[in-house]
Structures are given as structure tokens and as C-alpha cells.
Amino acid sequence: VKIIAPACVFVTLLGAWQLGVVHTVLRLQEFQLPYPDQIVQTLIDRRDVLWRDAIEFTAFEAAGGLLIGAAAGFACAVLFVSVPFLQRGALPIAASLNSIPIIAVSPIAVLWLGFGQPSKMAVVALMTFAPMVVNAFKGLSSIDRESLELMDSLAASPRQVFVNLRVPNSLPYVFAALKVGTTLAMIGALVAEFFNAQRGLGVTLSNNIQVARMPAAWSAIVVAAMVGLILFAAVSLIERAVIPWHVSFRAHDAD
């Protein structure tokens, strides 16, 4: 049942697309939205180049940037929880970093770090930093009062409260941020490549859209979606391994 249901939906949608239902309903032409068989053919023909671009450039930039951004975000959240002044003063500012449009920052990142992967990683790290700060802070600070009183009554040191109560409490929020982060990271890497790069899926996308080779552009989109799903699945697997005790997983078993 786990695989059959999504597979049915997939086959139905793909069938409708291939048979032209989507084109008819949305009144699109072939040059606007290519058919699945054309995209699959391009995927097979160009698989070596596509996967090399995906792994060496886009996925590498996305994963590397996400790790840097998430680590920096968590570190800042810890700092904000420990220093009440920063919590009131710096948290809203850190959170507002999220709203700096990456496009505007990416040419400036290129000026600093060059056309290669590091400038894209910097853009991705900037994008994924803010959600992690907000979520990790929420997780570290929204502590059950009774748990805190219990720890106090047992004369727990601030360090013990932190390690045994705050950090475990933050993990579900941290993983939620990482999951949102995987999609942000892929979009960040692609968009940064779209405008200022020499290699990567974003470059493939941009070059093919410009010359209206839509099947080739869509093959890059498909590969990007697959890479994104792999990243998301990897984070979900780690989440299950690290916080099997969380209510959301227990509720799954009860259904």
C-alpha cells in the first residue's frame, strides 16, 4: 500500500499529461510544455552530463551550503537562548536575513568568491541560516515548565538542563528546519547558477530555456527534483533514527 497508492497517482497524472489532457485543459502548446516521452528520451540521451552537473555542482553546492547554514543557524540559536539581550535584539534581525533576495546577493557573492561552487554555497548557506535560527530557537526555548522545575529540583546544572532538556526538545524543530532547508538549498543553488555560473543544472536550465529547447530544460528540472527528493529523504531517514520517540512518529504507529 505504501508504494502502490502514490504510484497510481503518478501513473494517472503522467498518462493524462502524455495523452494531451493537461495541454487541452491549460491551453498550452508543445513548445511551452513538452510531453513526458520527449523528456524521458532527453534524460536517457544526456544522463552522463546531467548527473555529473547534478552531483559535482548543484547537489554539492546545496548540501554543502545547507550544512554550513544549518550549523551556523543552530550555533546562533544557542547563543540567543543563552544571552537574553541578543534574544530580544538579534533574533528578529537574524530572522530577517531570510528576506534578503538571493538573486541580489548572488552577483555580490560572485564578486567575493568567484564563479565556482563556493559562491553558490554561500548563497545557499545564507538562505538556510534564518529558518534554522528561528526553528532551533523555538525548540530550545519552548520548554515545558514542569520539566524545567523538575530539573531545578534535582539541582541540575545549567549545562545539564541544556544538554538533557533543551537540545532534545529542539530536535523536532531542527529537523523541520532541515527539511524546509533541503528545498530552499536546491532552489538557492539552482537560482544562483541560473544567473552567474559556468556549470550545473541551473546553467543547463537557463541555456536551454533561452534557445527554447524545453525537453532539455525539463530534463534538468526532473534531475533537480530527484536530487531534492534524495536530500529530503536523507534528512527524513536521519530524523527517524535520531528522534524515534517524537509524538508524530508514535502517532503513525497508532493509525
Binding site: V1, K138, H252
Partner: protein
């Protein structure tokens, strides 16, 4: 959190001073004495390119501030910002409503969730930038395209977080409701939805800024108005427009900040019972 503005002002002013100092040192170290005035204005062609680019890489913040309040820049910066904000707001409302409804639908049945959730996630992997041309070709209207993309980037975090929240109800509370023979509808409205609200607001805060970014990305692909258009145009003109470019980045950030703070304020009003908002 944000209740008293003083700490924010102190931190912001501190950051600005550090930036000013670092930018000044960087400028002094990289631009030779005779070229300094020309490098600041950016328009002097006798200044070597690597010195002209210095203000583009790390401008002096007081000059960016001056550009923000320059009367010539009111239209390309502030008016353009309002155009972007309007689209982002409408798209945010639409995407939030769709995302919340979808989450409620998906938690009704495991079968539905298993069938559709992978596509909710996969849909988000399709880069916004690739959808732009398709949305354009369908509607031929930059306002509709902006609104749709802003809605598109909003619905995903809302759906994911609301599902997580709806599944995070305290099992004891669920058992209690069951023991009182509460209907499915009552369990939803009295327990599961209130329990999901903190997660929902978390998503809305992320989406508030994402919808602004979504609207801006659309503008970069050929709109006529908006802060993204200003960013794109000022980039083409290079170092002469360094302050206008950074000013546009600041305006875009202000849009996100105001939007984020508005949602955070709403969160505080709605979630008075959360531990962190109790006195």
C-alpha cells in the same frame, strides 16, 4: 521577543557601526589615495576596475542610507517595493489557505497522505524560475504570475508544518477526547487544530519572507515594475549604481522584515497560551 524595540535598535546600530568600520578599512586598504573620490562616485572611468568594484562588494552603509532617502530614488526603490509587497501579500494569503486546507485533507487518511504528500514535496523541487516562463505564457500578466509564484512558495511550508502539528497532539488529550465520545469534528476543532497552531505560525513566518522572494524572482524574469526590476536594472549599470543596488536590497529586506514582524505579532496575539508567551 520583539516586545521592546530597544534591544533590536541597539543590535542593529551596533551591526551598522561594525559594517561602517569594516567597509571603511576595506576601502582604505584597497583603493589608492588618488582614486578615492572617483571610487565613491563610481562614475569616474579613470579609476582602475578593481578599485571601482570595491563599493559594489562592500559599500559604506551611510552612503547606502543616503541613497535610500534620495528623492530621486523614491520611485525605483519605495514605490517599486510596494508593488512587490502587494503581490506577495495576496499570494501569501492564497498559498496559506491552500496549504492549510491541503494539510487538513491529507491527515484525514493515510492513503491520501501517502499518495499525495510525495507530490507536495516534489512540486517544491521544481525551481520557481523554471515555472516563471510557463506561468507567463499562460496568463501574460506580471501581477498574476507574481501572485501565483508567491502562493506556490507559501503553500509547501504551511502544508508540511500543519501536518506535523496535527499529528503532534498529546496522546493523553486524544484519549480523553475519545473517552468523552468527542466527534471527529470536535477533536479537530478543539484539540488537533489548536495544537497545530504553533507549527502553522512557524511556517507562516518562513512563508512571509519566501513569498516576498518568490515575487522578486518573478520580477527578475522580465516584469515592468517591482523591487526585483530595480535590482536587475541597477546591476546592469555596474559600480555607478552600487548604492542604488544595495538600497534596493535593503528595501527588499525591509519588506520581508515588516511582513515577518506582522505575522509574529499575530502569533503572539493568537498563541497567548504557549509557554514562551506566558508572563
Amino acid at each position: 521577543m520583539g516586545r521592546r524595540p530597544l534591544p533590536i535598535v541597539v543590535v542593529a546600530v551596533g551591526l551598522l557601526l561594525v559594517w561602517e568600520l569594516v567597509a571603511w578599512l576595506y576601502f582604505q586598504a584597497n583603493v589608492a589615495e588618488p582614486f578615492r573620490a572617483g571610487a565613491i562616485s563610481g562614475a569616474d572611468p579613470t579609476v582602475p576596475p578593481e578599485m571601482r568594484i570595491v563599493q559594489m562588494k562592500l559599500p559604506l552603509p551611510h552612503l547606502v542610507l543616503a541613497a535610500l532617502f534620495n528623492p530621486d530614488n523614491v520611485e525605483p526603490l519605495w514605490f517599486a517595493g510596494l508593488v512587490t509587497l502587494r503581490s506577495a501579500l495576496l499570494g501569501f494569503a492564497l498559498g496559506g489557505a491552500i496549504g492549510f486546507a491541503l494539510a487538513i485533507l491529507l491527515v484525514q487518511s493515510r492513503l491520501l497522505e501517502r499518495s499525495l504528500l510525495p507530490y507536495v514535496i516534489a512540486s517544491q523541487m521544481v525551481p520557481v524560475i523554471a515555472l516563471g516562463p510557463i506561468v507567463y505564457s499562460m496568463f501574460k500578466d506580471e501581477n498574476v504570475a507574481r501572485l501565483l509564484i508567491a502562493a506556490y512558495v507559501t503553500f509547501f511550508p504551511v502544508t508540511i508544518n500543519t501536518i506535523k502539528g496535527l499529528r503532534s497532539s498529546d496522546p493523553n488529550a486524544l484519549a480523553l477526547m475519545a473517552s468523552y465520545a468527542a466527534s471527529r469534528r470536535q477533536v479537530f476543532s478543539m484539540l488537533r487544530i489548536p495544537a497545530a497552531l504553533p507549527y502553522l505560525f512557524q511556517a507562516l513566518k518562513i512563508a512571509a519572507t519566501a513569498s516576498v522572494i518568490g515575487a522578486i524572482v518573478v520580477e527578475l524574469m522580465g516584469a515592468q515594475q517591482g523591487i526585483g526590476v530595480t535590482i536587475l536594472r541597477t546591476q546592469y549599470y555596474g559600480p555607478a549604481n552600487a548604492y542604488k543596488l544595495w538600497g534596493a536590497i535593503v528595501v527588499a529586506s525591509v519588506l520581508g522584515l515588516v511582513f515577518f514582524q506582522a505575522v509574529a505579532l499575530l502569533e503572539r496575539l493568537v498563541l497567548r497560551w504557549q509557554p514562551e508567551y506566558r508572563a
